[in-house]
Amino acid sequence: MSHIAHSTTTSTARTERSATAAKAYAAFLGIGLVLLVVAPMFFYPIFLMKLLCFALFACAFNLLLGYTGLLSFGHATFFGGAAYFTAHVVKEWGVTPEIGILIGVAGAAMLGLIMGFFAIRRQGIYFAMITLALSQMFFFFCLQAEFTHGEDGIQSVPRGHLFGMIDLADTTSMYYFVLAVFLIGMIVIWRFINSPFGMILKSIRENEQRAVSLGYSVARYKLGAFVMSAALAGLAGGTKALVFQFATLTDVGWQMSGEVILMTLLGGIGTLIGPVFGAGLVVTLQNYLATSQFPVTIITGVVFMVCVLLFRRGIIGEFYASRLGRKLGFEHRR
């Protein structure tokens, strides 16, 4: 009896706590949205659009690492692959931008299905090595294929008219289009994580054997998560191709796969918005260093090591685990 009473009080306490967390979340979300809407008045819009694309890319990657526990070292394939597909169909076939992006997403999902099919046969470290090797294979494919134009890449891609009406050559229109894409992507991720499917993914992350013994076809769920993550990374990549109006080998190289891992690690693995902050930091740092002689790689490498050694929860994870974060009712376990 006392046991039940005890459990009731704790569960009430938890509900109250998560209620404050929900309020805090809603408040942060509101502030964030307002900031994103007014941001182009204060910052260079191209920079903001780059940031949003990478933020979405990192969140898509986190879907796999943070919520399924799979470390992919090959996500550049989906990001850069979709960039190539979108750039190609928009430039050569003359389709509208939204169709171009959708084709990029479909292509990335297809690539995800193929890579995932092979990679989920092994776990942990092997999974990471297989994804890396397969994405390197895709890199060589892009280097030699006809439509990617090798070292030159696909250049001067027109942004076109959204739905055939709104001219995206206008930077302001383009910014709000990218913001809309970003928000749609985030809502999809949020829905996905909180769906029954997402719950099963978390259970696989926590204890794969138990998920198997409960009768779930773990391989199929992993593959589903992989394709989903690839498609969303493709959404980010396709959009990026329209923002910068080109698609090059940089986006499919292994360095890009490393970068997205860093963004996620820095922001907070397994937090919904952590990767957004991680992406913001990395992109800002790159922009800042782009004008100096000092190579970004050294900084990236050092930040990587520091994060792994001292800072594994990431920025948002540390915030959730801090006194203020706990007071607001956030929970973080990793």
């Binding site: 470390l71 092979f118 046969r121 092994r122 942990g124 470290i125 092997y126 990471a128 090595m129 297989i130 890396l132 090797a133 397969l134 390197q136 294979m137 060589f140 494919f141 280097l143 030699q144 292994w254 490393g258 891992i261 690690l265 000092f294 190579p295 970004v296 790689t297 050294i298 900084i299 990236t300 490498g301 050092v302 930040v303 990587f304 090591m305 994060c307 792994v308 050694l309 594994r312």
Partner: protein
Amino acid sequence: MTMIFGIPLQAFMGQLLIGLINGSFYALLSLGLAVIFGLLRVINFAHGAQYMLGAFVAMLMLQYFGINYWFALILAPIVVGLFGAVIERLLLSRLYKLDHLYGLLFTFGLALTIEGTFRYLYGSSGQPYAPPPQLTGATNLGFMFLPNYRGWVVVVSLIACIGTWLLIEKTKLGAYLRAATENPTLVQAFGVNVPMLLTLTYALGAGLAAFAGVLAAPVYQVSPLMGSNIIIVVFAVVVVGGMGSIMGAIVTGYMLGIAEGLTKVFYPEASNIVIFVIMAIVLLIRPAGLFGRDA
């Protein structure tokens, strides 16, 4: 001219030799990866960077101290091995109790840092390193000319591979290593200094990579990018071989190197990706790898 499968014998043997040389490096590197992984459960992403370091140390020793190839072949692995030991002791050892993926991420960061530093200091382009005067020239084998240095690379890497295998399978130190791989806690209870063993193993792996780097310096150019170019292929080799066995890593390395060389003869466009394709096929047929024990 003698033809084989419609290809001039000369060209065929030449590519076969290049394949065998690449295979030697794959074997040495995947062997080091397997040794480190066996005990530390860390995939050493910095293995390529340590290979590059070996080549650079040899080149710098020649430039600044006039140390010749033969001493560099011994000294460079020691220098890089010591560097590895320091990294392991101070940093990497803090990660053993965590998920293994953190070890991969840490060594990835380490690789980026080393590569970035050398690119900053020496630029991205390669620099030549002359083979030792004793090994210049070529020998006529009757059906082809074998450059002496390339022959030496094949022979000495084979010796290094077999030597490492003997060290691990036949000596007392090797027995400790294998025992600690199976059950570190029990081995520690018997009074063996396991943390020291871990440091030694990492240093040995890094030293082997550097040894391969010195061997590679006269064949390829010494460039900061040489490490990251090869490490991804070596990962594929390791996935094909499975990291359960030392001999498996060696044999797979040579086999895939030769497969790559032969592809260059018959279908050059695919030579970059043939190892990845073989990896995919092996994953379909035998997910644990050709020599793997664990599923």
